[in-house]
Amino acid sequence: MNVRSINFRLTLWYTVLILTASVAFGAYTYLSFEHRLYTEIQNMLASRIEHLRDDVLPTLSSYTRDTLRQKVEEVYSPEQNDRFVRISKMDGTVLYVSGHPRENTFNPDLIPPLLNYTTTITEGMQSLRTSDHLLLVGYVTKLDNDQYILEMGTSITPVISALHKLIVTLLIGLPIVVLIAVLGGSALVSRALQPVEDMRETAEQISFSNLRQRLPLNRSGDAIEQLAKTLNQMLERLDQAYQQASRFSADASHELRTPLAIMRSELETILNRQDAPLPFREHIGSVLEENERLSNIVDGLFSLARLDAGEAKIDHKIFDIAQLTCLTLEQMQLLAEEKSLSVKINAPLPIFVKGDAGRLKQVIVNILDNAIKYSIAGGSLSISILSVSGNAVLTVEDNGIGIPQEALPHIFERFYRADKVRSRTIQGAGLGLSIVRSICQAHGGTVDAKSRESLGTVVTVELPLSTKPNTQI
């Protein structure tokens, strides 16, 4: 999974938000439920205490310890209801305390007095949770100069157990909610990004051969539509620039070629005249040669201009470059035989690349032609085309004259000639290898040369393998 992808990050944020919200909601539910439960119990105890006060206190002096017990138990039966009742004086004398509860959730004898008897307490209701198991409410009242404390409590075990169950429910429910949120969020993000994905797919298809195509607009009026519009405007400008560039290249080509053609025709007309003296003919022949050289340079320049303008890869077909290499070599066989070169080719398997077979053939022809041209008679030429870690790797190795070290970094530059003297005898304008490089780069590949002077040269072309072999070969 790509942790930096927008899908992942959006889903992550979404998950964090949902998780935080769920935890906050759970905590709020728990705390408010707890508070409400205790308040309810307190209110209930308070009303009971008031009842006890009205029932017992006015006639307290008429009770003995036993009759008081009888009276309280008659009305409240605290033991049966897991309740605690205590009536005491301010000085600590206990007049009545309830017995052990049925469920034995607390020991009434061990419950510390709710109120500090030594301090003066204003009359009224006081309440306190004295232990984990008991909620106690106390009431202080005055009667005939004596201060009495009424305490009533109830076991909170059921409350704790209910709250416990609530926590369990929340802990089980929360991950489920979060899981649904993550899955739903991820699906929503994917759905929301679908127009972007559509745009990407279309954009991938757009090359110089179909610059007129535009990205789909989803008419949603949102940022994504704006993005598509902006990109389309950019494509429009690109299209215009490209057309301008190729128009310029065509115009300039026309402007240069026409005078060259006229010059050539005029010179040839003179040559055709039977009365032209021989020295004239020789000079004119020499000018014609230069005319041809100039034409070759113009050809090369415009080939490069067009390659730069995106014509280096017009076709996007998947084809077997190993087969193409073998075929090209076969077509050039005699050039090597003429120099008595021993040629070895290692192309054991079909190797599929995607691109312009015509252009890549030009690459192979140029490299093989160079290797043969710069070989010494009787030398050897070894060609291999293999698939190496995701790349189609073509190597052409000769043991010819080699390239001087200082020239090596420049041989793919335009108009660069390793040997200015030799260049006169070999046709071309020093653009062959630049064309090779342009075509390789347009196919996402590289070309590289290693050489030792008078030992030989190795030229290596690497092109990405086609991801989908075996289709439309």
Partner: protein
């Protein structure tokens, strides 16, 4: 033989017309597409040489009109642009051949002659020239009853030469037919293969079948004029 030359560069028109006349052709010229169209309408030319960039009516529009009127007349396009798509486009529009400026007059002449004859001179499956026999079905070649072994490329070249017996073929024409676009700048490859064919076909024979035409290309058998 009457040729119509439509080209807007008057100097080029003049030089080409003069050279074509020297070669024995009747030449009419037009400096723009509209004049060109009028001339096409007024006379049944044997060949039309047509520049693509023309004022008035451009070469490809003119080509369409020519084709609408006459499907047969051969058309040779001249152009200063040479992208592969352009070539394909003009062939699809009905051009018969295509020459990129600047070209040598010899090249133009060879191509013009080839177009004027239209069909290959040898259409039979078995081609006989003297004591030379080429069987296009079995791809077997004999000279004086002796079998000659050829590589597939050598055979392709020889077949192209032999089916055009008597006609001069330029190196570029040979490259275009026997190799392909990728070999455009490798015209010496033709010379190398011709040399090899000569040792196999002509060595030890009095009558040499493959001849060099200086500055142009090669011819198989004796050159036949129009």
């Amino acid at each position: 033989m009457r040729i119509l030359l439509v080209e807007d560069e008057s100097k080029l028109v003049q030089a080409l017309a003069d050279n074509l006349k020297t070669e024995g052709f009747a030449v009419d010229t037009a400096l723009n597409g509209i004049d060109g169209m009028e001339m096409v309408a007024s006379y049944a030319y044997d060949l039309i040489i047509l520049d693509i960039m023309l004022p008035g009516l451009d070469g490809s529009q003119l080509l369409q009109k020519v084709r609408a009127r006459n499907r047969e007349v051969p058309v040779l396009m001249l152009t200063a642009k040479d992208s592969v798509q352009d070539k394909v486009k003009y062939f699809e529009a009905g051009a018969d051949d295509y020459l990129t400026k600047p070209f040598s007059f010899a090249e133009l002449l060879v191509r013009a002659k080839a177009l004027l004859r239209r069909r290959p001179s040898q259409q039979t499956d078995v081609i006989h020239v003297d004591d030379f026999v080429l069987d296009r079905l079995t791809r077997k070649v004999k000279r004086a009853d002796k079998r000659i072994e050829l590589s597939s490329k050598e055979y392709a070249l020889l077949e192209y030469l032999a089916t055009n017996t008597g006609r001069v073929l330029s190196r570029t024409m040979i490259i275009e037919h026997v190799w392909d676009q990728s070999f455009e700048n490798l015209t010496n490859i033709v010379d190398v293969y011709i040399r090899q064919l000569r040792t196999k076909i002509d060595e030890g024979h009095e009558h040499k079948l493959i001849r060099t035409i200086r500055g142009v290309g090669y011819v198989f058998g004796d050159e036949v004029n129009l």
